[in-house]
């Protein structure tokens, strides 16, 4: 990656503490525009906390405290006045799929409506595009009125992705999205991500090292709240990453 690339997210000395433990111990790195950044590391190493700081949903966890600076497009997220705009700029997909107890159509149209879009044709178009992008359209196009919560797990996860895309985010964060999804669906979603790369910046938190290898341009390895290493995939997945620990983790020697 050349340095000429625009910085989309800048994370500077980010510390996240919960009541009795520290989830992130001061990590710093940048995310460039239109790249897929893989984030790998064992469970409980603070990856999800990092995502929650980016769209400031960390403030809904009363016992969590975040310090340090996270900037999106050069703006400090903690000081942003319009937090809703920030959250629309960042699409989030968490491990467990959540279909809202609304129709499939309304699930996808929820965010645009909340943002003030009321025009029926605009909404129709948007819903169709998002469902197509998340590879769900063909399966549900004839029953957009049925409940989103009644879909299968894999379908609900794609619905969740469609919803994350519905507010036309510039950044898409996925947190171990394949945990509740079968391998075939995982492959389909991975294909979707490859296509979306040209349109947005993607942060792919995953516990599957190979998934990061397949999809990401660069990969960060976080362990126990520390950033061990971040570099191009060529380096991280080579025989000689900068840290021995990275090599061991990537090659399954621990973790």
């Amino acid at each position: 990656m050349s340095d000429a690339k625009k910085k989309k997210i800048e994370i500077n000395n980010l510390v996240v503490k919960y009541e009795d433990k520290t989830a992130l111990k001061g990590i710093s790195f940048d995310v460039y525009e239109n790249e897929i950044l893989g984030v790998i590391g064992p469970a409980q190493s603070g990856k999800t906390s990092m995502l929650k700081v980016i769209n400031r949903t960390i403030e809904f966890i009363p016992e969590a405290k975040a310090e340090g600076v996270v900037k999106v497009d050069g703006e400090d997220v903690m000081k942003m006045k319009n937090v809703y705009e920030l959250r629309r700029k960042v699409g989030m997909v968490f491990p467990l799929p959540v279909g809202l107890p609304l129709s499939i159509y309304d699930n996808v149209a929820f965010a645009p409506r909340a943002a003030g879009i009321r025009n029926k044709t605009d909404l129709d178009e948007l819903v169709e595009r998002c469902l197509k992008q998340s590879a769900l359209w063909d399966e549900v196009k004839d029953r957009l009125d049925s409940l989103g919560t009644k879909l299968s797990g894999g379908q609900q996860q794609r619905l969740t992705i469609a919803r994350a895309l519905s507010h036309q985010p510039e950044i898409l964060c996925l947190d171990e999205f394949s945990i509740a999804v079968d391998p075939v669906t995982t492959m389909r979603i991975e294909d979707v991500l490859k296509e979306l790369r040209s349109e947005m910046t993607i942060i792919l938190v995953t516990n599957l090292v190979q998934q990061a290898r397949r999809l990401a341009n660069r990969t960060a390895f976080i362990f126990n709240g520390d950033l061990i290493e971040i570099d191009d995939n060529d380096v991280i997945f080579s025989e000689k990453p900068a840290q021995k620990m990275t090599y061991d983790y990537v090659n399954g020697n621990f973790g």
């Binding site: 319009n82 705009e85 629309r88 645009p112 943002a115 003030g116 879009i117 507010h167 036309q168």
Partner: protein, 297 residues
């Protein structure tokens, strides 16, 4: 995408303020109740009323021409006797039923019992009072050969029937809160269901059961119409369960209509109200703390 209309955003913050105000209103109402009841009785409470005599004298002659006396001891004794008797009946039955419903019933029967208990709780107190006045009155006269059936016994039974639903439903919640693993562990060790209940379940749920009993007590102390109609109207310290009594609540209900506004008598009734408010406040507070105690474990 910042095309939400300005109006929409203003409406939203107005609604959020409204919600906040409503949330805070609960505090205002509690203070309001205390304040307004206190306000009506304050003048006499601080000027004229002999508080010691008020609490220790059994002589309640608020309308006497020669010498008015305001002693509520007999009324407190009335409340205490009816409450004690009703709890003596309602606590074993209520807890027994809670145990049966929670531990021995199948899901269908459980659902049915809970509905019946809910209906039992819905019967208005004036209907209970009416039953005390008619059915129970006759029953007590016939069974005990008593001159009058409107007695401590009558009020106690009626109040027991009224308090039982509270004790059952809160007691059942407390038992439900005991983890199933306790039950399984005990049964795996070969104890019978009954041994499991009194060795494992009751100790584990004792705080919740205590709270259930306390809320039953609060209900019984505060109940008005039923005891007004079912306990007769004798202001005296009862010697047996077949004596008539009058409770604190019944006194207010019976005399407030006749007492001229702002007279001493009228104010004393409000002071009794403060007394009642304080008693039930304390009981509810203790019950709440007991329940909190369970949650923190």
């Amino acid at each position: 995408m910042g095309n939400r209309k300005q109006l929409e955003i203003i409406t939203e913050s107005a609604i959020e303020w409204l919600i906040r105000i409503c949330g805070i209103s609960a505090i205002l109402f509690v203070f309001g109740i205390f304040f307004f009841v206190f306000r009506e009785g304050a003048e006499f409470l601080f000027g004229g009323l002999d508080l010691w005599q008020f609490l220790t004298s059994p002589e309640w002659y608020p309308t006497s021409v020669s010498q008015k006396r305001y002693g509520v001891l007999a009324l407190m004794a009335g409340t205490a006797s009816v409450t004690l008797l009703s709890m003596a009946i309602a606590v074993p039955f209520g807890l027994g039923a809670a145990i049966y419903v929670s531990e021995f019933c199948g899901p269908k029967a459980k659902e049915t019992f809970k509905i019946v208990i809910e209906l039992l709780a819905a019967i208005p107190s004036v209907v209970w009072g009416f039953i005390g006045l008619t059915l129970m009155n006759e029953l007590i006269i016939t069974l005990f050969d008593a001159p009058i059936g409107l007695t401590v016994l009558n009020g106690g039974i009626i109040l027991a029937l009224m308090s039982v639903p509270i004790i059952v439903s809160i007691g059942e919640d407390a038992l439900k809160a005991v983890p199933d693993s306790y039950r399984e562990a005990a049964e795996a060790l070969g104890s019978t269901r009954w041994q499991m209940i009194y060795r494992v379940l009751l100790p584990a749920a004792k705080n919740g059961l205590l709270a259930a009993v306390l809320l039953g007590v609060a209900r019984a102390v505060g109940e008005t119409m039923a005891v007004l109609m079912a306990t007769g109207h004798a202001v005296k310290i009862p010697g047996s369960v077949l004596d008539s009594v009058r409770t604190l609540t019944a006194t207010i209900a019976a005399e407030l209509g006749e007492a001229p506004v702002a007279s001493d008598h009228y104010q004393v009734l409000f002071i009794i109200g403060i007394l009642l408010f304080t008693i039930t406040f304390a009981v509810n507070l203790i019950a709440d703390l007991v329940v909190k105690g369970i949650k923190e474990q």
